[in-house]
């Protein structure tokens, strides 16, 4: 059952018996001004509901986020006295070649993964949006990898793409193509990671597009067919524009996810070969938790945050200008 169905399940409640029987603490009794103590008690009672979760969430996000900014202005290894260095970490970041290499690797992954995942989602949604035999089985097959963890996917990738005994090279050999080095080749490793990410996450974009496809009014399609459009034209001229908000949403969402890539790199290549898969977050993790550069690591984290915000704002502004409502 869903949120929307639920709403309809609820029978209308009986009306109050009479004006005399009002809820005693509804906060809407205009006849008598409530005393300050009553208001305070009311507030306290309500805060008991929201306080535990609010304290946990804010305590583990806003407070550390502010702390991270202070850390980014310091040089600190966690043991000695922290030293205030102002914007030095950021200045260092701008000229840090390793950081820019990490930005490039992240950019490569994003450029490979995001279009693949949006297009695959669109294609799979169109294909799965049929009333044909076995469709449930097809859907299950495509959705089930979504539950696999990055650790499991990483180990699986290393196995399937192993240069010596991996299934993928075995298939290549059997159709007469040369075996590849895959994760051990700096120019191919990111591709393998992107492909395996796609395997695990295709279900996400698919399900969003599938949902949006159900929302396209059938009258529009019928009108297009009456006007003589073939299937292909009807899709690109009628359905595709209707899907624009979802396309923008999934693009932003997948991009934000892509520039935060870490897990799958850690469980496949550990940033190698020759640092070719060292992403921004991998670099951040290495600086902070391997080299214990808490200040510099925090500056990297803030750079990542800034990048995320820029991309989001950029896409939102662009889509507003084009008159597409995504948010």
């Amino acid at each position: 059952m869903t949120i929307r169905e639920q709403r309809e399940d609820v029978a209308p409640a009986p009306q109050p018996a009479g004006p005399a029987r009002r809820a005693p603490r509804g906060g809407r009794t205009p006849t008598r001004r409530r005393s300050r103590i009553a208001v305070l008690r009311e507030d306290l009672g309500a805060w008991l509901f929201v306080l535990p979760a609010t304290v946990l969430v804010l305590g583990l996000s806003i407070f550390p986020a502010i702390w991270a900014f202070i850390l980014s202005l310091q040089e600190w290894d966690g043991f000695t006295e922290p030293e205030f260095v102002g914007g030095e970490n950021y200045a260092e970041l701008v000229t840090d070649e390793d950081f820019f290499a990490a930005v490039q690797h992240t950019g490569l992954y994003t450029a490979l993964f995001v279009p693949m995942s949006v297009l695959a989602g669109l294609f799979l949604a169109v294909a799965l949006n049929r009333r044909i035999r076995l469709i449930g089985l097809y859907r299950t097959a495509i959705f089930v990898p979504f539950v696999a963890s990055a650790a499991a996917t990483g180990i699986l990738s290393t196995y399937l793409f192993s240069p010596q005994y991996g299934l993928v090279n075995n298939v290549l050999r059997s159709i007469g193509l040369p075996a590849q080095k895959w994760l051990e080749d700096p120019s191919q490793a990111m591709l393998v990671i992107a492909l395996m990410s796609l395997w695990g996450q295709a279900a996400f974009t698919t399900v969003l597009y599938l949902a949006a496809l159900q929302d396209v009014p059938t009258e529009l399609l019928e009108a297009a067919r009456l006007d003589g459009a073939n299937r292909w034209q009807a899709f690109w001229r009628v359905v595709w524009p209707q899907l624009a908000p979802v396309t923008i949403f999934t693009t932003i969402w997948q991009t934000i996810g892509a520039i935060q890539l870490f897990d799958l790199v850690y469980t496949t290549t550990r940033g190698g070969p020759l640092d070719a898969t060292k992403t921004i977050v991998y670099y951040l993790w290495e600086q902070a938790f391997r080299k214990l550069e808490f200040g510099y690591g925090s500056a990297v984290a803030y750079a990542l945050f800034g990048l995320t915000l820029l991309i989001t704002i950029g896409v939102v502004v662009y889509s507003r200008r084009r008159g597409m409502e995504a948010f």
């Binding site: 929307r4 639920q6 809820a23 309500a46 806003i62 550390p64 496809l213 850690y266």
Partner: protein
């Protein structure tokens, strides 16, 4: 953003119900099978290989060329997994982390969601705004200070470090709040008239209506807490407090050649969620449209 999440959630339901909606239409053989069958196969093969490798004799996995299907089924991998590693401890740890995450999410987030949706109190607007704002903060920004904080609290290297960040989430509060906003006010007013206090209204009237939202929250929390790797990797170095994912990542570097064991570990970490997925498929798909927050 709220609007699109709402839309995705409601439309996701229709999508899940869609193909069953019209049973009367005759199903004719379709060309789409030629497209869908190979794709579905591509998605299934990695899992198939995982199970086959887990059940293969060790020597066959490093043979050349390797057999697609093992010549005989062997439990070498699972024997090695259970005898030479602490996988049972890790499994138990993961169950504890996920179990407490789900229990705590269900209680704390529904309480807070209800409070922010329905109760009127000073500071409500600021509170809900602050919570929604935190969704935009990337977790990577929080890793370093949280690590330092937990180290000072003496939580690092213990299971507590893995548990605490999963006790509540902004997404959970937001999800429950959206749900409670959709419940008609009359229900509560009726309860109040019958003399129930705020707590009784919440517990006896509103929460039982929230089962679909609670199921969604539980699935989402299970998926993300069970599969979390980066935080345990940072916060836990002590093998007794490893989670399954951390144990797997650890194997990956120390037991590179023991594929049967690695795959048996993969099966142990993934199979519970696959079975869960197969049972709760419909709800699961709706949850995915809502979340999209898989890390």
């Amino acid at each position: 953003m709220t609007a699109i999440l709402d839309r995705a959630a409601s439309a996701g339901t229709q999508a899940a119900a869609g193909p069953r909606g019209d049973r009367r239409r005759r199903r004719r053989p379709s060309g789409w099978h030629l497209v869908l069958a190979p794709i579905a196969l591509l998605f299934v093969i990695p899992f198939f290989q995982m199970f086959m490798a887990a059940l293969s004799p060790a020597e066959e996995l490093i043979a050349f060329p390797p057999p697609f299907i093992p010549s005989r089924l062997s439990l070498d991998g699972f024997v090695a997994l259970f005898t030479t590693t602490d996988v049972l401890t890790w499994l138990l740890n993961t169950v504890i982390v996920s179990g407490s995450a789900i229990a705590s999410h269900l209680i704390l987030c529904s309480l807070a969601g209800y409070g922010f949706a329905r109760l009127r109190f000073h500071g409500r607007t600021v509170g809900i705004f602050a919570i929604i704002a935190t969704i935009m903060i990337p977790t990577q920004l929080l890793m370093i200070p949280t690590y330092i904080l937990f180290a000072r609290l003496g939580l690092i290297d213990g299971l507590g470090a893995a548990i605490v960040p999963w006790l509540a989430s902004a997404f959970g509060i937001f999800l429950m709040r959206q749900f409670f906003l959709s419940i008609p006010m009359e229900i509560e007013e009726a309860g109040r008239i019958d003399g129930a206090n705020r707590w009784q209204v919440f517990w006896h009237l509103v929460l039982p209506l929230a089962k679909p939202a609670l199921a969604t929250l539980a699935i989402f929390t299970l998926l993300s807490s069970w599969n979390d790797l980066v935080w345990p990797l940072i916060a836990i170095n002590n093998e007794d407090a490893f989670t399954l994912q951390l144990g797997l990542a650890h194997f990956q570097s120390t037991r590179r050649t023991q594929w049967e064991l690695l795959m048996a570990g993969n099966v142990a970490a993934t199979l519970p969620l696959i079975l869960f997925f197969l049972v709760a498929q419909k709800q699961f798909v709706q949850t995915m449209t809502l979340s999209g927050l898989k890390g």
